[in-house]
Structure formats: C-alpha cells, structure tokens
C-alpha cells in the first residue's frame, strides 16, 4: 500500500486533480464504448422487429 490514509490517497501528493481527472476520463471512455453499442443494439432490434411485424400484417 503506497498510502497511509484516505486523505493522502485522495490528494495523491498534491497531484490529486491530475490523477483523478485522468481516471475519470478513462472510466468515461470505457463506459461510452460499452453503453453506446448496447443502446444501439436495443434500438436496432426494436426497429427491425417493428418492420418485421408491419411486413407480416400486410402481405
């Protein structure tokens, strides 16, 4: 463990802002790359299903 206390961990030896900003950005990029394709998938499946139902109703 490189830190003795939680406040020490948060301040990162005075570089807290830089370190935490970087890790927040990293988390944001990872989440974006997961959420965007998953949302696209549910939107796409719903849209294709609607289209399929329309086609089945009016042959």
């Amino acid at each position: 463990m490189s830190f003795n206390s939680f406040t020490e961990f948060l301040s990162m030896g005075g570089h807290g802002l830089y370190v935490w900003l970087s890790y927040a950005l990293g988390l944001a990029v990872i989440l974006l790359n997961l959420v965007a394709p998953l949302m696209e998938r549910s939107r796409l499946v719903a849209q294709l299903k609607r289209r399929l139902q329309r086609e089945n109703q009016s042959p």
Binding site: M1, S2, F3, F9, M12, G13, G14, H15, G16, Y18, V19, L21, S22, Y23, L25, G26, V29, I30, L32, N33, L34, A36, P37, L38, E40, R41, L44, V45, L48, K49, R51, L52
Partner: protein
C-alpha cells in the same frame, strides 16, 4: 466445380459469413468481458493503491496506467482497421468492411483518451499541457484520421462505396503508425522514449510494469468486447433481410 487450392486457412473463409461471425462473436463475448473486467479492475486497484510513486514525478506517474494502454490500443486498432479495410477491398468481404467500420469509433475514443491523459500528465511533469513535438502531433493526426474515416462512413449513402473510401483513407493513413512509433527516436522531442519495447526488459521494476501490462492486456480484451458488440449490431443492420436475422428477431 473443380475444388481450387485454398491458400488461406478455413476460418478465413468462414469469417466471410455474417451469420457465422455473429454467432462466434456471441460465443466469445462473455469470456472477453470477464477477462477485461478482472484485468481492468485488478490493474486499476494495483495502479492506484499499490504501485509505488515515481522518484521524480510522485503520484502523477499513476496516469501512465491509462495513458500507455490507450495509446497502444489507439495504434493497434488503427492497424486492424486498415488491414480489415484492405481485406474488404481485395476480397470484397462484407464482414471485413463491417469490422473496419466498427473499429473507427473505438479507436477514436482511445486516441482522445491518450491525448487527454497525456496533456493532464504533461502539465505537472513537463510544465505544459501541449507542445507541438513530433510524437504529440503525429498522435493528433491519428485522431483526425479516425474522424475522417468515421465522417466518410456516415456521409456516403452506399455502404460499399463508403467502405471503399474509408478503406483507402485508412490505408493512406497507415504510414502515420511507424511515424508515431519512431518519432521519439528520429527527432528531438519533449516526449520520452517508449516505456515498453519487445526486445528489451522495461526499465521499471516489476511492481511498476506488471500492473501496466495488466492494464494493456485488459484494454485489449475490452477492445475485443466493444468491437464484437458493434460488429454484431452492424451485421444485424446490414443483414436485416436475411432469413436467419428474421428468425432471430422473431424468436426474441
């Protein structure tokens, strides 16, 4: 028909089938997702809590655990996009076009992450957010190449024309990859030389480079997850008229 001599392995031809590709991605996804989760969580905890601070830079050194993996991935992803684009151009393989298209947004976000974490790291260590040295500039060009490929993909209506145009742009931009890699060796730059090389042991002690290696491998696994998610969407969208997609939708 006479059986011609196949000079590429069987799986290469199987890849050409969108249905096979959709199914194999579905099978591989959970494994890569678990690996990515374990490696990234373990890597981040190690990087933030247990890795020692650098003797010169102190704790701002911990930014390396995001900066290096995202920069490596941004370049690997670009190479994959260009190779997939070339396969799409030569063999007219639809799945390869879809892979190339799916790579672009992931690579672009990785390039953004590498540039931003680099800027944030540069401020406390170098004393500047940004300098126009060869490494930083060539990395910015990589981001613009990604944005160009994405713009071409969304601006051109015809899917095959869009794939061709973006593949040519990716291939043209491929020359930037060795420039990024060797910029620190060829020119005077502010950026330090590579942290990881294939031929030499890293200069850092193990408690510093093992978590970094974990993060790099974790980023690759995460890339595989995100790519397969996007690829499956793309396959569904383009193959929506195929029978197997209809069956799949109706079974849900």
């Amino acid at each position: 028909m006479v059986e011609k001599k196949k000079w590429l392995p069987r799986w290469f031809y199987q890849l050409a089938s969108p249905r096979w590709c959709y199914q194999i991605c579905g099978k591989l996804l959970p494994g890569f997702a678990v690996a990515a989760l374990i490696l990234l969580l373990g890597g981040i905890v190690w990087a933030l809590l247990f890795a020692p601070a650098d003797y010169q830079q102190g704790n701002s050194f911990r930014i390396i655990y995001l900066h290096v993996p995202s920069a490596i991935l941004a370049q690997s992803c670009y190479m994959m996009m260009a190779v997939a684009g070339a396969i799409g151009l030569i063999w007219k393989m639809k799945v390869a076009d879809m892979v190339a298209k799916s790579c672009a947004p992931i690579g672009a976000t990785m390039a953004v992450l590498a540039l931003l974490t680099g800027a944030i790291w540069g401020k406390p260590t170098w004393g500047s957010w940004w300098v126009w040295d060869a490494r930083l500039t060539s990395m910015l060009i990589l981001l613009f190449l990604y944005l160009g490929v994405m713009a071409l993909n969304s601006a051109i209506e015809s899917e095959s024309t869009a794939a061709q145009a973006s593949a040519v742009l990716s291939l043209v931009g491929l020359v930037n990859i060795p420039i990024i890699k060797y910029s620190v060796d060829w020119w005077n730059t502010l950026h330090q030389p590579a942290t990881f090389t294939l031929t030499e042991r890293p200069a850092m002690p193990a408690e510093m480079w093992v978590p970094l290696l974990m993060m790099v491998v974790g980023f690759y696994c995460f890339f595989a997850v995100s790519l397969m998610l996007r690829l499956r969407n793309e396959i569904l969208r383009r193959e929506r008229r195929a029978g197997w997609v209809r069956d799949l939708l109706l079974s849900k």
